[in-house]
């Protein structure tokens, strides 16, 4: 069934089951997203995609809200822009966004300052290098949940990782912080594939960045194999 709604003053047709995000993108309107990924269940938790829908008390996440007949939607109202800018500024004050070029671009677009919050506590942790396949650098993690989702029932049904802590102190973790090889992880790599910020990274890429040459990495691997063989 086709319905008509208005987005930023422009009438547009949509299918009933389409989300506002899909409709806006078809119109060529860019609504930013962070946690949204085609392969995972949308949780609407980053709230960067919020838009103003007339008659609604609070802003609505475009990634899950379905288009409705006669809906009046504003994707760039003052409220929307303030929320997006503040969320980006809070992210910048919390974590390392150096390997998240998409979020950096959003910050430029919304005039978000990287040092809006003086003396803000950051989420920092050391790089965890405990398996041959990938490293975990949770200083770069923005808690989009995608890795937990693909590890669980969105893809792999492995359930190796979940959450530690609560609120601002939340971090992705394993059962009592055991190392990845001790968990049910099958090294499928799907979590690495969906990570948007470089918090999860292939080990080889990480070593190359550390200035270790491809040749040396190859020798390291050989060494490991030889050690294992003994």
């Amino acid at each position: 069934m086709t319905i008509t709604l208005t987005i930023d003053g422009q009438e547009v047709n949509a299918e009933l089951e389409q989300t506002l995000l899909e409709v806006a993108r078809e119109m060529g309107k860019e609504i930013p997203t962070i946690c949204f990924h085609e392969a995972t269940t949308a949780n609407a938790l980053c709230r960067i995609c919020v838009v103003e829908v007339e008659g609604q008390r609070v802003l609505q996440p475009a990634c899950i809200v379905k288009a409705g007949a006669g809906m009046q939607v504003r994707t760039r109202s003052e409220k929307v822009v303030r929320a997006r800018r503040t969320i980006l500024e809070m992210l910048a004050s919390t974590m390392d966004l150096s390997e998240a070029p998409e979020i950096q671009a959003m910050m430029r677009e919304y005039g978000a300052s990287t040092d809006r919050f003086p003396d803000a506590e950051r989420r920092e942790s050391a790089v965890i290098d405990d398996n041959p396949m990938y490293i975990r650098d949770y200083s770069k993690c923005l808690l989009c949940w995608r890795c937990v989702q693909v590890c669980a029932d969105d893809a792999q049904y492995t359930f190796a990782i979940n959450f530690d802590g609560r609120g601002f102190e939340t971090q992705i973790g394993t059962f009592f912080d055991i190392s990845i090889p001790e968990t049910s992880c099958v090294l499928c790599g799907q979590c690495v594939g969906v990570c948007p910020t470089g918090a999860l990274k292939p080990k080889r890429e990480y070593l190359l960045e550390q200035g270790i040459s491809a040749g040396e990495i190859s020798i390291m691997n050989t060494g490991r194999k030889q050690r294992k063989a003994k």
Partner: protein
């Protein structure tokens, strides 16, 4: 470390195994009861027995404040440091206890005999300062710490009406005393849709804070497709300053159970859950006994039965969908809505979830009939309402009044501002509420009048601050509360509560930096507009209202005010307050038309039977010394 003996675990969690994932919280509670905490081996065995992934079990333990994956003391003292207790010197109490045992808050003595923790509001605000000692409430702790009440907390019930609180104030009401479930029997003779229309006609709206029309909710669930439906009672009362559900459940459990039975008949549910916060451990046996009585009398049984679920320290689980997640054995993350609980609630089935006070109105409506019920209160806000009055008033307690009484009249009933001080502010509706001042004294306490005045009724909190109080201290505690209780799911609340707390700490220290006013506003409005659930959407509500009323507190250009000190005149004010308790007296609120003697006749102050008034100083209780301390 000694090896952990797992032989007792399986029998203890046996009954949880058939529940599967939903049995996780009860199983973890049972395990923690045996071991005192949840060691890795125990968590792994629970995971194996219930067939839940290890990482998920760990995620759940990590989410709830009252599950411990590090060894803690055999004895636990949790000192409430939220607003109402802070006014009565809880910081001093905490310092006193900690220095006595030579530990810091959150630490355990070296001999593992005692852990002392700061706690969010324990729902004992009218008997502040208060603490929870293992499963006993320690209340009315004297300024010299030498006397206090210990055990099941007392119930101080006042007001101009005794409808919802008819059986409150004299200890737990047994079924024999409560009498038969007359309203339920009457409802059973009515077709379910007539029960629903009766509730709709009564104009009852939810008393937990959101004020959603109860009849509309019931109608939705009754009409929803599906044969399995649930009734859930939300007794996760955690809003700072709220203690009404504690008193209703402790003193008159059958009223809530009868309300649930009527709801079950109305929507066609055969299973109910009563989810109660873990900070009310002394209520659980009372509820269990009441449920047994109701089963024996045939009110509960195969047609409809109720299971108690105990939370584990998470304010967010008062949010309805987070509460469902918790019953389902998961971290208490709120769900995105829609879909709404009436179609996709607990276990994805149609569910009616109501607050305790809401359910207590139900038997009243059915027995009186909606027309008679509507004679109480105002046209747009019918019915009786409970207010939790705490802070600097002569007579803190639970007040039952009809909607339409003014704030001034309520404060007069409560003995006015304590110790002859004048009013600075009233925190309305709880931490998620807003501040009122003396300008609001003539506002009628109804949904419509409060809305017009920009005040939320919330859960009925009226917390009074006298003119000597520093609002910055109240704000600092609000900031800490929300940062501690944010679930961490959506970005605005996860980071916003943390940034809000940091700025409010600067405000409290008198070290506001340039731009903090706008910064705090941006964070506040972003949480309000963009958060996923009600917690985030109201986490800045009181702060934003304070910024309107006292902008100077947040202005970096004004001379830096001194950092916060201890609230002045603590001892003196509490002494005077106690004196004024017996004879309520209007002070400074200056209204001549004071509710007359019939109010005082109906006013009861009854001491519950259980509390043991101790005259022993705190330090004589099983002294625990940190080994190797210098003393």
């Amino acid at each position: 470390m000694t090896e952990i003996d797992l032989t007792h675990l399986k029998p203890a969690v046996e009954s949880c195994i058939p529940m599967g994932r939903s049995g996780l919280l009860p199983a973890l509670h049972a395990a923690q009861k045996i071991y005192g905490w949840l060691p890795k081996e125990v968590a792994a065995e629970v995971a194996r027995l219930l067939r839940i992934p290890l990482a998920d079990v760990h995620g759940v333990i990590e989410f709830y404040s009252l599950f411990y994956n590090e060894q803690v003391g055999q004895k636990f003292i949790r000192v409430c440091t939220d607003q109402a207790c802070a006014l009565k010197g809880s910081d001093r109490l905490l310092r006193h206890l900690c220095s006595h045992y030579d530990i810091e808050p959150g630490q355990t003595t070296d001999d593992l005999s005692l852990t002392i923790e700061r706690s969010p509001c324990l729902g004992l605000c009218e008997q502040a300062p208060a603490a929870l000692v293992d499963e006993d409430a320690e209340t009315n702790i004297a300024p010299d710490f030498h006397s206090y009440d210990l055990g099941i907390p007392q119930s101080f019930v006042y007001g101009s009406l005794r409808e919802l609180t008819a059986n409150c104030g004299e200890g737990t009401t047994t079924l024999a005393k409560y009498g038969e479930y007359k309203a339920y029997k009457k409802a059973l003779d009515m077709p379910p849709e007539v029960v629903v229309s009766e509730i709709k006609a009564s104009g009852l709206v939810g008393r937990g804070g959101a004020a959603f029309p109860t009849g509309v909710k019931w109608e939705g669930a009754a009409k929803a497709a599906g044969s399995q439906k649930f009734v859930v009672c939300n007794a996760d009362e955690s809003e700072p300053g709220t203690f009404k559900d504690r008193i209703l459940l402790l003193e008159d459990p059958h009223r809530t159970i009868e309300g649930m039975c009527i709801a079950a008949h109305a929507i066609g549910a055969n299973k109910g859950y009563l989810y109660i916060r873990a900070e009310y451990p002394y209520i659980v046996p009372v509820l269990e006994a009441a449920l047994d009585e109701a089963r024996a009398a045939g009110y509960l049984g195969d047609h409809f039965d109720i299971e108690i679920r105990v939370g584990a320290g998470a304010y967010i689980c008062g949010e309805e969908t987070a509460l469902f997640e918790s019953i389902e054995g998961k971290r208490g993350f709120p769900r995105v809505k829609p879909p709404f609980p009436i179609t996709n609630g607990l276990f994805d089935k149609p569910t009616v979830i109501n607050n305790v006070e809401t359910l207590c109105n139900v038997p009243l409506i059915i027995s009186k009939g909606s027309a008679e019920y509507r004679k109480i209160g105002t046209e747009k806000s019918p019915g009786p309402k409970l207010f939790c009055v705490s802070g600097d008033v002569g007579q803190p307690g639970l007040y039952e009044i009809p909607f339409g009484v003014t704030l001034r009249e309520l404060l007069v009933m409560a003995g006015g501002v304590a110790a002859g001080q004048s009013l600075k502010a009233v925190l309305f509706g709880g931490a998620a509420g807003a501040f009122a001042t003396s300008d609001h004294l003539d506002v009628k306490l109804t949904f419509e009048d409060l809305r017009a005045a920009g005040l939320p009724l919330g859960s009925g909190v009226v917390m009074v601050f006298d003119e000597t109080r520093d609002i910055r201290d109240v704000l600092k505690r609000l900031g800490k509360f929300f940062a501690h209780e944010s679930c961490g799911k959506c970005y605005p609340c996860q980071m916003g509560t943390q940034r809000q707390m940091e700025i409010l700490n600067r405000v409290a220290k008198g070290s506001v930096v340039e731009g903090d006013f706008v910064r705090l506003q941006d964070v506040g409005w972003t949480m309000t507009d963009a958060s996923l659930c009600g917690l985030g959407q109201t986490a800045a509500s009181a702060v934003l209202s304070a910024m309107k009323l006292w902008p100077e507190l947040f202005d970096h250009k004004l001379p830096r005010t001194a950092a916060l000190n201890e609230p002045p005149g603590l001892a003196a004010s509490s002494v005077k307050m106690k004196a004024s308790k017996t004879k309520p007296e209007a002070k400074k609120t200056g209204k001549t038309a004071r509710p007359k003697s019939n109010l005082e006749k109906k006013t009861k102050r009854v001491q519950a039977k259980k509390p043991v008034k101790s005259v022993k100083p705190v330090r004589t209780k099983k002294p625990v010394k940190k080994t190797g301390s210098k003393k």
